[in-house]
Amino acid sequence: MKTLSRVPWALVVLVAAFFVPAAGSRYYTFLANDVVIWALFATSLNLLVGYTGLVSFGHAAYFGIGAYTTGILMKKLGVPFLLAFPAAGVAAALFALVFGFFCVRLTRIYFAMLTLAFAQIVWAICFKWNEVTGGEQGMPEIPYPAFDWLELVAAWLPFVGGYRTSEHFYFLTLVLVAGCLWLLRRVVGSPFGRMLTTIRENPERAEFIGVNVRRYELAAFVVAGAFAGLAGGLFGIFNRGVFPDFAYWTKSSEVLIMTLLGGMGTFIGPALGALVLIWLNQQIVSYTQYWPLILGTILIVLLFVFPGGIAGALESAARRFRRRRQVA
């Protein structure tokens, strides 16, 4: 059992993910791309919900802001992806700073309501500001990043060439998301991350260790928003268009459910939730149009039987397995 935990699973998964276009069809690449982006989105939310104990109902706002930022920069202003992508994170972080400043002064249900209100404001602006955001129609056909440099690389590394643009984008997404997740992992495992968990566990006590709870919560809010924005920037391109519903509250609830499904108590939980939910969605949608019914039922079962989500259930199963081996 010990040897299993020594394997760098993350690296294995990452390398395996690179082989999806070669092994599977365009459909699988599409799915994998979707999963990877949502994994980042969900993990960013978990920084708030799972690690700091702040339940946000408006996280999609930053996703939307990131998507629109990259979309507007690339489509309307011709800015290269290299700049437009980080810009998504920066823009989202700025909004998160302003919105978050007001949100962290409130607790619990009021906090959740204000995050919702801000998200709806973002949605309303995107929905109506036709000149800049394309209004209700959104902005279709966001250009892919330029991949000509890959052709140069392909001269040396033969397996890099011979892929379609969408597959090139998939590889790019993989690398970027892996990088972001690595960063988030560092943040969560740092002293800062530890302070966040103390706030989650007992804000009053954290206050009396000297922690300026509000400042930490705001910092967590900004970091989470920034990464959500990055995810949004990627999603806009992947989705071949940016639309106002990226910021609508139902998007926020989707990502919240993903986080819960995978398990809020672990780092990898939300990513797992993204994988399972998107895969399930694709499977079910081909049989029936009543996906919300299935999702709702799964959610109810989760809440009553597996509150720790998939990761939580796996962890407790592993613990029981280990205990049995010890006894035997």
């Binding site: 800062f192 530890r194 968990t197 566990e201 007992n202 006590r205 954290a206 000297g210």
Partner: protein, 245 residues
């Protein structure tokens, strides 16, 4: 070291604390006693910044600290433990202490380094001094009540405070646990030169170690002085002999 002047606080017309004044000299062990509902916890909350007083002032080390935020007070050197055990339930005992040490050492804003190695020795020394080293890996929420109180105390000590405010430190403990707890607290206070201010119900505890006692009744001070004086004070006897023991 700590001076409280004419503190008042009302809740919806009910006066919880009405014009309380007293001072706590450096290095002393002082106690605030009074029957249930006398306003002890409210008074504490006013001193530690959890509540804003309607009137009056608090000064700490000759600085006005009335109503400043708890985390700032903490930085100035005031430590507090709570009546209901206030720990981080899902973290391990080690992590509970480490969090306090991390903050005290100023690493709270380090966003990238892995946290497990930080201040390991210091945290373990701290665990040892409160007698919880053997329980380092246990999840705090599963400890016994007495252990949790020790943990609570330890977290407060990790911040190297100059004054320690303890709200009912022996509440819910058995007689044995109470005696041990009090001995521990007194030893720590002596070793570190701490000033101690605590509230209590248990008379035995108070008369055993306190240098000064302030008696509160219905939000007002009815006696204040050395244990002998207080024990003989007629108001105090009236208020107490009718209710407890």
């Amino acid at each position: 070291m700590l001076e409280v002047r004419d503190l008042r606080k009302s809740f919806d017309g009910f006066q919880a604390v009405g014009g309380v004044s007293f001072s706590v000299p450096r290095g002393s062990i002082s106690a605030i006693i009074g029957p249930n509902g006398a306003g002890k916890t409210t008074l504490f909350n006013l001193i530690t910044g959890h509540l804003r007083p309607d009137a009056g002032s608090v000064s700490f080390k000759n600085r006005e600290v009335t109503g400043i935020a708890p985390h700032d007070l903490c930085r100035l050197g005031m430590g507090r433990s709570f009546q209901r055990t206030n720990i981080f339930p899902r973290l391990t005992v080690f992590q509970n202490f480490q969090a306090a040490v991390l903050w005290h050492r100023g690493c709270g804003w380090n966003l990238l380094a892995p946290v497990d190695r930080f201040y390991r020795d210091e945290t373990e020394a701290l665990l040892d001094s409160v007698g919880l080293l053997d329980k380092a890996g246990e999840v705090a929420g599963f400890l016994s009540h007495g252990n949790q109180k020790q943990l609570e105390l330890g977290i407060t000590l990790a911040l190297e405070p100059e004054i320690l405010l303890l709200d009912e430190p022996t509440a819910g403990m058995s007689a044995q646990e109470t005696r041990e707890s009090i001995r521990l607290i007194e030893r720590i206070a002596r070793e570190r030169g701490l000033t101690l201010l605590f509230t209590e119900h248990d008379m035995e505890v108070v008369f055993a170690i306190a240098h000064r006692i302030t008696v509160l009744h219905q939000g007002e001070v009815i006696a204040d002085g050395a244990p002998e004086e207080v024990r003989r004070h007629p108001e105090v006897r009236r208020v107490y002999l009718g209710e407890r023991r």
